[in-house]
């Protein structure tokens, strides 16, 4: 399995939707601030998987709302799992596998789940 496929598999396992941005530059524009905040660059490469994380960050923020400190806490948090994740980069996030999984766990949202009445 190629490295890119492995990274995509992690995102899939952790529930990060594939945005399939392709060449939709207007979507990149919308997320450029988020991408800069998370990764230090307003524009990643077109096929960079981290666009998916930026999109999810923005979506969760728009729905749930959270402070910067709470986002920071979610990245420092411990998620107990046989599929280990850890925050191994400070500030700027690489495509390190464990960090990618950790980042995903901080982001993916629950609002699709309906609590029964």
């Amino acid at each position: 399995m190629s490295r890119e496929n492995r990274l995509q598999q992690i995102l899939t396992e952790e529930g990060i939707p594939d945005t399939h941005f392709g060449s939709q530059l207007e979507l990149w524009e919308d997320l450029s601030n988020t991408s800069e905040k998370l990764f230090g660059y307003p524009y990643l490469k077109q096929d960079d998987l981290r666009w998916n994380l930026a999109a999810e960050y923005q979506r969760v923020f728009d729905i749930v709302g959270f402070s910067g400190k709470q986002f920071e806490c979610s990245l420092r948090s411990t998620y107990l799992s046989p599929m280990q994740s850890s925050r191994e980069e400070y500030g700027k996030y690489t495509k390190n596998e464990r960090t990618l999984r950790h980042f995903s766990r901080a982001l993916v949202n629950p609002w699709r789940l309906a609590v029964p009445n």
Binding site: C73, L80, R112, A114, V115
Partner: protein
């Protein structure tokens, strides 16, 4: 269905409101997101909690302790990771009084209350526990006894060389 810590706030507050464990007469619970991740405590006496985004706190007139936990998904199973259990200094008398009135220690009650989330959740929920090895004040016997008594599976974690930034 995929969901995890940051976005779980509305979901967890919904579950918190649906739990039907009888309310306590002399104590109150509070579910909140962590707002302090550094050393020291806020004006209530709540200390920083960098290892958990969510806190289930107990108040007996004043802040008396908490469990800190996180949330993520593995396949379709919801995972609650309890990564922090904390009391307050000099609270033994308060805890003894709680036990006298309710027949259990307050932290056992907090764990049981959190476990009751699983009874009202629409999908399977698993609970895992961990004693933070970086905490000098964490008494392993306290964690071990508490988790064992409440049937919480303890996990081991790997400490990484550069994992010391708090």
């Amino acid at each position: 269905m995929h969901w995890s810590t940051l976005g779980a706030w509305p979901y967890l507050t919904e579950l918190f409101g649906r739990v039907t464990i009888p309310a306590l007469q002399c104590a109150a619970l509070n579910l909140e997101r962590t707002n302090k991740i550094t050393l020291g405590s806020d004006q209530r006496g709540v200390t920083g909690c960098p290892e958990a985004l969510y806190q289930l706190q107990i108040y007996m007139g004043e802040y008396a302790g908490r469990i800190g936990f996180n949330f993520h998904l593995e396949n379709n199973t919801q995972i609650i990771s309890i990564t922090n259990v904390q009391g307050v200094p000099g609270a033994k008398q308060m805890y003894d009084q709680f036990e006298e009135e309710y027949g259990e220690r307050p932290h056992n009650y907090l764990i049981r209350y959190l476990q009751a989330f699983g009874e009202v959740a629409p999908a399977e929920m698993l609970f895992r526990g961990w004693r933070n090895p970086k905490s000098e004040n964490a008494d392993p016997r306290f964690y071990n006894t508490l988790f064992r008594a409440e049937g919480i599976r303890q996990m081991k974690t790997i400490i990484k060389a550069n994992d010391t930034d708090y």
